[in-house]
């Protein structure tokens, strides 16, 4: 099978070598966890517990009635110390439930298997997925139950699992595919049933031949499931580009994968769905990669949600070299942290600690108009012009050049020889444009 891909994109240094071959190790049980009530795209949860309450592991501690949301669960058993604003690795600050572990890890007795895939219907599966608090684990953390409940006018024929893991340095999905292949395939089946899709596929970049082999075996030659080899390139794991490569379906501008009949989920998300269906286990722990040139002993770890970054870095031998940057996620789209005192959330796919020498701190020079950002842009936009308008506050011009189609993958900034902050300026313009659209929509009500 020849590897599939899309035109554009970049080939950064992948840096996956230090952790790709290392099996997942279970992180030491945390003494205290800080569980943000907002770990997903959508409405934050409200706390269901208060300071002084005793909680069990897996107990639901936050929820909301909003449709686009996912409940959060305790990742240890113990006593709630506080419900208070705490630093958050993606949102800056969020209300969080702080729990002191009793060291017992007593599982909530409410947790029990949901039933078999044959007996559960689509609606029941969606309810299981929602109650388990499952969100996209590739980083964006979109509630999975919402994803698999498309509006009635959209027919879903395919569920695609994203095993591309195109972000440099990260190997968590790679290890999940190797070590939890059966869960991944079971989760795919469950997701297909939840949204009524007839076929499923798993797409993996060809720099992970062992994962391709293991998943291929796990599929067991099922006629409705297939594996797709992807060319190793960033951002091959962007869902739009994944579908372009796998199915040659192009998500329309401003649209979603469900506009072309597909739901895309991360492989780790599928494995979490499998555990929710089989055992009733909610999403309170996940696999992530702690890596980067600053870390003494980079590892893939199974980590409780709410464990602090600093704790995990300590467990990896601490910093061997002075850290210049600590990032929630990968180097292309991850978020730089100002402190190690932030908790792992459901969306944390990695903790990347770049040594001081690895941190790019160049000053921007004049744009040469070399056009490399255009060649690299996977959305075929013209980042140099959009960013130039954005820098001058001309957001209408930026909008005319389709700034809103930007997926913020960062390829343009990566390739720019003049080190211009292209995607950063475009991000700014996108914010201004959407804010203005919202303002214009207001008076109508």
């Amino acid at each position: 099978m020849t590897a599939k891909t899309f035109p554009g994109g970049i080939h950064p240094d992948y840096g996956k070598g230090p952790t790709a071959g290392k099996p997942v190790v279970r992180a030491a049980p945390p003494k205290t966890v800080v569980i943000p009530l907002h770990q997903h795209t959508g409405a934050p949860c409200e706390a269901l517990v208060k300071a002084g309450d005793e909680v069990k592991m897996g107990q639901k501690i936050g929820d909301t009635g909003a449709f686009v949301s996912a409940p959060v669960h305790a990742s240890v058993s113990g006593k709630v110390l506080a419900v208070e604003p705490r630093p958050h690795p993606a949102f800056g600050v969020s209300l969080a439930v702080v729990i002191e572990s009793d060291g017992q890890d007593q599982l909530d007795p409410e947790i029990r298997p949901a039933g078999s895939l044959d007996t559960l219907d689509a609606a029941a599966l969606r309810k299981v997925i929602r109650e388990a608090g499952i969100v996209g684990m590739g980083g964006a953390a979109f509630p999975t139950a919402v994803k698999v409940a498309p509006p009635p006018n959209k027919k879903i024929d395919t569920v695609a699992l994203n095993g591309a893991e195109c972000e440099p340095y990260l190997t968590a999905d790679h290890r999940v595919m190797l070590e939890q292949a059966d869960d991944v395939v079971f989760g795919l089946r469950a997701l297909m049933k939840a949204c009524g899709a007839g076929q499923g596929l798993i797409a993996i970049e060809d720099n992970k031949p062992d994962a391709i082999e293991v998943i291929h075996k796990a599929l067991g030659g099922a006629p409705d499931l297939q594996i797709i080899h992807l060319h190793t390139k960033y951002p091959q794991g962007s869902e739009k580009h994944l579908l372009k490569a796998c199915l040659n379906r192009e998500v329309p501008s401003g649209g979603l994968p469900l506009d072309v009949g597909v739901v895309v989920n991360n492989v780790a998300t599928a494995a979490a769905v499998a555990r929710a269906v089989r055992n009733g286990t909610p999403l309170y722990e996940r696999v992530l990669t702690v890596t980067g040139g600053a870390v003494a002993n980079p590892q893939n770890m199974l980590v409780r949600v709410g464990t602090s970054f600093g704790d995990l870095i300590e467990q990896c031998g601490g910093f061997a070299k002075p850290a210049g940057k600590v990032i929630n996620g990968g180097p292309m789209m991850g978020i730089a942290q100002s402190s190690l005192d932030v908790p792992v959330t459901k969306g944390t796919s990695g903790i990347l600690c770049l040594a001081r020498g690895e941190v790019a701190r160049d000053e921007a020079e004049a744009c040469l108009k070399c056009g490399r950002c255009i060649d690299a842009c996977p959305m075929y936009l013209m980042p140099l012009w959009i960013s130039a308008y954005a820098e001058r506050g001309k957001h209408e011009e930026a909008e005319r050049l389709n700034a809103l189609d930007c997926i913020e993958c960062g390829c343009c900034s990566y390739v720019c020889p003049a080190r211009r902050p292209l995607v950063q300026a475009i991000r700014l313009a996108k914010g201004e444009i959407t804010a203005r659209r919202r303002r214009q929509a207001q008076p109508a009500k």
């Binding site: 970049i10 950064p12 240094d13 739009k240 372009k244 192009e250 998500v251 329309p252 501008s253 401003g254 649209g255 506009d259 600093g310 704790d311 870095i313 300590e314 002075p322 850290a323 210049g324 940057k325 180097p331 292309m332 789209m333 991850g334 730089a336 942290q337 100002s338 402190s339 190690l340 005192d341 770049l354 001081r356 941190v359 790019a360 701190r361 160049d362 020079e365 004049a366 744009c367 040469l368 108009k369 070399c370 056009g371 255009i374 060649d375 959305m379 075929y380 936009l381 013209m382 140099l384 960062g410 990566y414 390739v415 720019c416 020889p417 003049a418 080190r419 902050p421 995607v423 991000r427």
Partner: protein
């Protein structure tokens, strides 16, 4: 700042991406200088010490002018990006080897101060600085700028192009293709050796500093049109002589590919090459000058914003929705 003892230094916080390519402006311009080196060596071999003197005067003045401009604007000097050195060397390549040394000095000063700095410095100019300076020198000192000498013995002569084009000098035999390919012909300092220019151009292609669109379209258009528009009717031209003579190789590989003054998309760069080729042939065959490479590139420089406006990529997701 962490309080847990793992880290006692401040962390850098900035917006993603957190890693960058190793390519920098300086590295790209350095590659262009490396790409120009074979032609510079050929110039020294063919025209001797006077070639080296002209190149030194031109590069030296360009770098000095760039530095002074930065200083006058109270900014960090930009000579480190090497773009001024590239401009200086390209200007030298476009001068007859017989020019007095003050010509490259004035030319480089004009290129950097007038054509580049006044329009905002690197990235702001809309004309290729070296070519615009050459055009100004040609207008100001036409005798110095059209006095050609032969390689090695440095005796005054006409260029092959003057023989080749219809309005040229009759009866002077054309040099052999081999001499033209190797550069043993009269001409501007750095333009005569197609071999040296091709070697440097291939280096730039291999390093992906330039792409094939402009050079291939430029040379290809000249080849086809000069063959078609021959002196004795359709298909009687001498396209190989046209491609190997004058500034075509230098222009197609190193001047029309200048990032700042050429289109930003691959399709746009194709149009750039086609337009340069067409204009070069029109000027060579029907115009008043024997050579048209410089002017064709300058005209296409001016057309570049328009090309950029038209040759935009089709954005992802522009599909019909059901």
């Amino acid at each position: 700042m962490a309080e847990n003892g793992a880290q006692n230094e401040l962390l850098v916080v900035s917006s993603s991406p957190h890693v960058k390519t190793r390519d920098t402006t300086q590295r790209l311009m350095g590659d262009v200088l490396i790409g120009l080196a074979p032609a510079a060596a050929a110039a020294g071999y063919l025209f001797g010490s006077r070639a080296l003197m002209i190149m030194a005067a031109s590069v030296g003045t360009a770098v000095l002018a760039e530095h002074l401009v930065s200083r006058m604007g109270h900014k960090r000097t930009t000579i480190g990006d090497l773009s001024a050195a590239v401009t200086g060397l390209l200007l030298a390549f476009n001068l007859p080897p017989s020019v007095p040394p003050w010509i490259p000095v004035i030319g480089s000063a004009v290129a950097i101060l007038l054509v580049k700095a006044l329009f905002g410095g690197l990235g702001g100019n809309f004309l290729n600085p070296a070519l615009a300076a050459r055009a100004i020198l040609l207008a100001a000192w036409p005798v110095h700028m059209t006095a050609w000498i032969r390689p090695f013995d440095l005796v005054g002569t006409a260029t092959p192009l003057a023989t080749l084009v219809p309005k040229g000098v009759a009866g002077v035999p054309l040099p052999s293709y081999l001499d033209m390919f190797l550069g043993r012909i009269p001409g501007s300092l750095g333009e005569t050796s197609a071999l040296a220019l091709l070697a440097g151009g291939l280096y730039l292609l291999w390093r992906r500093v330039i792409d094939w669109h402009t050079p291939v379209a430029f040379v290809g258009t000249v080849f086809v049109l000069t063959w078609l528009l021959g002196p004795d009717g359709i298909g009687t031209g001498d396209p190989l002589a046209h491609v190997l003579s004058g500034g075509l190789m230098l222009g197609a590989l190193f001047m029309a590919t200048d990032y700042v003054t050429s289109p930003v998309t691959p399709r746009g760069r194709l149009v750039m090459g086609l337009g340069c080729g067409l204009l070069t042939v029109l000027i060579r065959i029907y115009g008043a000058f024997p050579e048209g490479v410089s002017y064709s590139i300058l005209i296409m420089n001016v057309a570049t914003p328009l090309i950029d406006r038209w040759m935009t990529p089709r954005k992802f997701g522009m599909v019909k929705t059901a």
